[in-house]
Symmetry: C2
Subunit: 447 residues, 2 copies
């Protein structure tokens, strides 16, 4: 009935989604996935009362419906609505993980879809984690296949590739065979969307919600028997041709053999990604008391100039886009991973302002976008240099420590450690989602 034998991309994706044995997932991939899951819960809970989160939640709350799946700080709702809300909420802070091959944020598109469908189906914690992991790996592969051309013209891979990953995760939880998975890919190819033109607005986190919801919808419709053209990705009028895809199928054909998920990057500073390499380099410098630092020279790829080199940040938001500001925070021991650090009080602290005036930023074409070089000159005339590179691999132990530390700063140590224990022992989806319940005290005031 269905023939996708010559549709290399669709076939590879459908086979991986339906057929990848969970027991053959490498342990290292599983461990990194579990950190992404921890990180996703933390950023979702921390973003629960952001303005965009309240607004999307208000829409689905008003709609109501069958209590299938949990919403962060909300009621249980149908899976499709929960995916829309939680996708948006978890990307509200833009503090979730990033994958540079994918050119997007894999967790916020896939995990909300997987969690909602897992709760709806009442499956085990292990089935939920396997489906989310496989969906994330699939979304990264689709992101590679769409490539740089797709991104440059203006599509937001988080939303587009993310919808495919969400669909794979949802289909897996419905125990789809390869044919059903291919039909799901067909439906999501006509449904997926999301533009970068929304960056800088609430439309950006909404794009993550769109992805999660589109994946759930496509899979649910196939479970109800909807037929589609399974050849969704390739060929004339396929998703790739219409959406400016690079169409390098290698990422898809390697699925199950090469695992890209372990190279996902977690954000450890609640500020513009362009500042992170400099903060990593600063952490590698010897400790010098702030008043003994005469100057701090920063060299970064020139693309970050004009993006996040605000020399005299005046507000919390401006701090997030300022080398001077975040390096002054780091020098003075103010956490750059806590959301609350980025406030007016810090921006206008005379010590922070004074230190910031000693930070000098310059572009350097020889550096990559994920790199930074720092030169610190002490009042004694000593010079210390350091290099920061976000691509430098971390050991799993290092990464675990940092993800847990970030989670603790975002949601408190108790919640962070409870989540960690539940993730490691494969607690049921609904037990994990208990972390979505709002605190009994008033939620943090939102901007």
């Amino acid at each position: 009935m269905m023939d996708v034998s010559d549709a290399v991309a669709t076939r590879a994706l459908a086979r991986f989604g339906a057929g990848q044995p969970a027991r053959e997932i490498p342990e290292a991939t599983r461990s990194v996935f579990q950190l992404s899951l921890q990180d996703w819960f933390a950023v979702a809970i921390a973003g629960a009362e952001e303005p965009v989160s309240r607004r999307v939640r208000a829409m689905v709350r008003e709609e109501g419906g069958a209590p299938q799946a949990s919403v962060v700080h909300g009621p249980r709702l149908p899976a499709r609505a929960a995916a829309l809300a939680n996708g948006t909420i978890s990307h509200a802070l833009d503090y979730d993980d990033t994958h540079f091959d994918h050119i997007g944020h894999p967790s916020v598109a896939v995990i909300p879809a997987a969690l909602a469908m897992a709760q709806r189906a009442g499956v085990s914690g292990r089935a939920f984690q396997d489906a989310a992991l496989i969906g994330m790996e699939a979304s990264i592969a689709v992101g590679v296949w769409l490539g740089r051309a797709h991104y440059q013209i203006g599509f937001h891979q988080t939303a587009t590739a993310g919808a495919f990953g969400a669909a794979i995760a949802a289909g897996r939880l419905l125990r789809f065979d390869t044919e059903q998975m291919a039909r799901t890919i067909g439906l999501v190819s006509t449904r997926a969307s999301g533009l970068k033109s929304q960056f800088g607005t609430m439309g950006k986190p909404y794009n993550a919600g769109i992805a999660a919801s589109n994946g759930v919808e496509a899979a649910l419709l196939v479970s109800h028997g909807l037929q589609s053209k399974p050849r969704g990705l390739e060929g004339m009028q396929g998703f790739g041709a219409t959406h400016h895809g690079d169409l390098d199928t290698s990422g898809l054909t390697q699925l199950g053999a090469v695992w890209r998920l372990p190279r996902v990057q977690h954000k450890f500073h609640a500020c513009c990604h362009g500042l992170h390499a400099a903060l990593e380099a600063f952490a590698a410098l010897p400790r010098v008391a702030p008043d003994q630092i005469a100057s701090l020279d920063v060299r970064v790829h020139p693309r970050w100039l004009g993006v996040c080199d605000k020399p005299q940040p005046m507000t919390g938001l401006e701090l997030k886009f300022s080398f001077a500001g975040v390096l002054a925070m780091a020098a003075r021991g103010i956490s750059t991973s806590r959301l609350e650090s980025y406030g007016m009080d810090v921006a206008q602290d005379p010590h922070v302002i004074g230190f910031g005036q000693r930070v000098h930023v310059a572009g350097d074409e020889s550096l990559g976008e994920t790199q930074a070089r720092l030169a610190l000159r002490t009042t004694d005339g000593d010079v210390h240099e350091a290099f920061g590179n976000l691509d430098t691999p971390m050991t799993l132990a290092q990464r675990t420590r940092r993800v847990l530390s970030k989670s603790s700063e975002l949601v408190g140590q108790d919640t962070a450690l409870t989540l960690r224990r539940r993730i490691l022992r494969y607690a049921s989806p609904s037990e994990l989602a208990q972390a979505f319940e709002p605190p009994e005290t008033e939620p943090r005031a939102s901007s």
Copy 2:
């Protein structure tokens, strides 16, 4: 706060949607719109038990939720779900109206969105009709702006331009000002999708449901305060640049001055559109008894050869793609507008088969795609010729008669005339939607 002063397309669309005075809608536009509304109800009700209709309805029925809006043969559900279901259901038969400037089907994307939002808001019948009409006109203008390039690469204007029209209609029912309307356009620009690769599958009617639902969702989110980049259509990363748009703004800047809706085409035969001009030409021939017809030569644009020139149709479905079949039906007085005519009994009727063998089809490059030439030779040797052209304007009276006749064949004369009376007296949206209730007897068996 919002500046779209140099965004010609977005500004024109937002202003028309929010600001077009209903009293300045030309009477001729209103009259044709009311025929499209009649036709939309008829095809939606007639398609209610198609397989795709049952399946999409099953999904939203299972979700449930606030009883805001009516679903064809279904319960009342939230507006967003009702729009998804009714958009799909009304396009299930592919028997709804078409606009050749738009390159799509305006009613099935816009009317379901307008009806659901009108029921949710409890507005008057006139407010509903005004919003649906303005949304349809807007979708046609966006279709013109996206143009042939968008369609050729593989996008389905019904779904893409349709989502913008649905959003305008929904925003109008929420009484949006120009700024809110521009934000809605921004959100729908990141949400709209739909590919022609799904043609020939249930994915095609689903695309209409997508459009209606996307429009409702974008407007609802703006009503809940969601902010977006309002410059949704134009510029780098805008909907046009990313979606291969022609970007001819004239259709948009003429909104309110030029009304394209009156040139919408209603389908009067329940078969492939490529057969319609020949059927119109046949109706213009003098009446000759079938057994006195020696031969019937048909000349059409060559693109229809291979699409709908099946010489010996064996099934009801094949009849829908056969000049020989439908002309035999017409010659023998079998209605080509009734769905039930296209059955095995008719395909295998010896009189139909015998007549079909006397029909000869040839391509003719000098004809347009909407044209056909017929030459009928009688057994006495007389020759009669006729020309059919779907673009030939009909008087309003002719068109009204034909739309009512088609509706009566689809849903029965009582329902058709009740709908007509209610539309003309601007009955409330929920009174109109009473026609969605399933008949008390068992619904028509579906394929």
